[in-house]
């Protein structure tokens, strides 16, 4: 729940691009062959019409009944991409993250430092521009 919510709010990769291999029509939009279509994951992950009025809030509880319980259109949740090119390492990454977070929280408690400046920056991935300052206490 927590990691899914984290990936919803801060998907490391924020755009999925696909090239139209032939002329296509999406609803009223005509996409000529050769055009690159960019799908903005961040936008889809935080649309209140899809996620509800608390779309911009950290609320892991929304994933209590899976992705389909969390939003109207489960296919728009794609922190690991979509289709045949879905992230090869997604299950490995989730296992890594669970072990890492589990190890940290069982040994330390931490709060966000007053020095922290919230500035998500899009470089190759979405990163905290000034890092994340935490006040850490050994348990």
């Amino acid at each position: 729940m927590v990691i899914h919510e984290s990936l919803r709010l801060y998907p490391p990769v924020c755009v999925i691009s696909r090239e139209a291999l032939q002329d296509m029509k999406f609803g009223d939009i005509f996409v000529p062959k050769g055009v690159n279509v960019w799908t903005l994951i961040v936008t889809l992950h935080q649309d209140p019409e899809i996620w509800g009025s608390d779309a911009d809030k950290f609320n892991p509880e929304r994933f209590a009944n899976g992705v389909s319980g969390a939003c109207k259109h489960p296919h728009v949740y794609m922190p690991f991409g979509v289709g045949p090119r879905t992230c090869l390492g997604q299950h490995f990454a989730m296992a890594e993250l669970k072990i890492l977070i589990a190890t940290i929280v069982s040994n330390f408690s931490f709060t966000i430092s007053p020095k922290y400046i919230h500035a998500p920056a899009l470089w190759l991935v979405i990163e905290p521009e000034h890092g994340v300052n935490l006040l850490i206490k050994k348990l």
């Binding site: 729940m1 927590v2 990691i3 899914h4 919510e5 984290s6 990936l7 709010l9 801060y10 490391p12 990769v13 950290f58 892991p60 994933f63 899976g66 992705v67 389909s68 489960p74 296919h75 949740y77 794609m78 991409g81 979509v82 289709g83 879905t86 992230c87 390492g89 997604q90 299950h91 990454a93 989730m94 296992a95 890594e96 993250l97 669970k98 072990i99 890492l100 977070i101 589990a102 190890t103 940290i104 929280v105 069982s106 408690s109 931490f110 709060t111 966000i112 922290y116 190759l124 991935v125 979405i126 990163e127 905290p128 890092g131 994340v132 935490l134």
Partner: protein, 112 residues
Amino acid sequence: MRALILKEVKEEKEQTSKDLLEIILKGAKDSETSKAEMDRFVVDNCKNIYLAGYETTSVTATWTMMLLGSNPEWQDRVRAEVLEVCGGQMPDAGMVRRMKTVSAFFYASPSD
């Protein structure tokens, strides 16, 4: 980025460390392809493993720490679950599966 990776490759060739880059280099060498193809193989694999496979996960861990640091009630919930499931030990595969609050593997997206 290509130049940066090839510079690392050059430095790696001068030492004998047993790391992932060396395994990639050996793979390229054993494939008996042209120099250009070998370089591409090495650069593509470095991008995949070191960028797609490292930076994405580490930045997700960083954001998760920020969110748990800002939401102590969730940090407590996660800690309670981890202590209950793992009992102070390093998590094994079964424990990883049982930690639902941290994250459940209930991926049911149409792409699966």
